[in-house]
Point group: C2
Chain length 218, copies 2
Amino acid sequence: MPIRILLADDHRLFRQGMISLMRTREDLVEVVGEAETGEEAVQMTGMLRPDVVLMDIYMPQKDGLQAAKEILSRFPGVAIVMLTSSEHDGHLYEAVRLGVAGYLLKNLDADELFELLEGVTHGEAAMTRSMAMRLLKGVAGRMVDAESGEEALSERELVVLRFVANGASNAEIAENLSISINTVKSHLKNILEKLQLANRTQAATYALRRGLVLPREK
Amino acid sequence: MPIRILLADDHRLFRQGMISLMRTREDLVEVVGEAETGEEAVQMTGMLRPDVVLMDIYMPQKDGLQAAKEILSRFPGVAIVMLTSSEHDGHLYEAVRLGVAGYLLKNLDADELFELLEGVTHGEAAMTRSMAMRLLKGVAGRMVDAESGEEALSERELVVLRFVANGASNAEIAENLSISINTVKSHLKNILEKLQLANRTQAATYALRRGLVLPREK
DNA sequence: AACTGCCTCACTCTAAAGGGTGATTACATC
DNA sequence: GATGTAATCACCCTTTAGAGTGAGGCAGTT
């Protein structure tokens, strides 16, 4: 019997395209459900109990990584394969840390996808050579990073960074947090050092691109 | 005869899905070519002269907007329909300004897409109600902005702003553009005044949020 | 010819940012 | 009890950013 698949992606066109593709291999794969949001993916997984969830990362309400975490804790038998366009190494590491069964980029050939999906049902990991390589490099990179002193930001540093990302000056941050400007400078200095950045503007763009602050309009 | 379509998207899976979908409506649409990068899209357009180019925005080498600009100036007869996941208003405005025939989100139904594509060949614009609404709101917003003193940035100012958004210092910008640091300061001063911003960090986040620079990974 | 906007640059001055060093308190961990 | 880390702050010093003012060249428009 074919592999039962739940498709979680917020782009209807992409889902429809995938379904159309999978119809050409009905012997191997069958799309049993679709989800538009992470929240929906969790619920549908509970109801349908698919063999594999093909999960995008960027989704409204709850992103694919959060949804994956929840699914893995509640329905450990379900295999999750991330299928995303994110070239962001951080997403890859996070997904692997959660224990997903695969991480694939949308820049992938359909036949390869079918092959890898079949492997997943046999307990293999779904990952292309290039993704595996990036993962290895990432692990190596983290070891180097640990040696060279890069660590995660503290809570307070994150708060300061968010202010910076909103264009606040040190004085304004100090006032808002009711601390001395020296302390703000101190935090910012640590932030720049930890993240290996040169100035506050780079810190701001870093924060925006990592989604540490919401990209509000206007 | 069917509408001849060039598919420009860097995700192979998406392209394959779209092709599979369009095979179901062979009477109406035909994919005559695929492009993985903006540069490729330009070249393929020259060679194939499709009726419509379905163009994504995020692509390596040359993004969809740049490619659209080039195609429209070199092959004015070709209709370009942006098909993207970008909810960024800046991208929408830019595309419309360039003169594309449509702007659609990938969160779209296949049947709707087919309908809209047919409309394009009859000279209609391919745009969903919600996109049209966003466009109108954007225009209204810009009129208000114009009254309150916001003006468009000059070409040079945009270049400087892009550097700022990448975290460059005035000295670095000056060196890269081979102009004096005083000139850079002068440009930046005008930018801040035109956009009613307080400092370069705000300018950087402004640029990022408006999509003036592509949110590169890494 | 006059005007306008854009790009270029200079000079001054003040405010802000950022690097370095060191120190205290508090809290958790080992 | 020692160690470590986070958060707080101070002082000094150098570099950078930003505001103000003025000005020349150049292209396009009226």
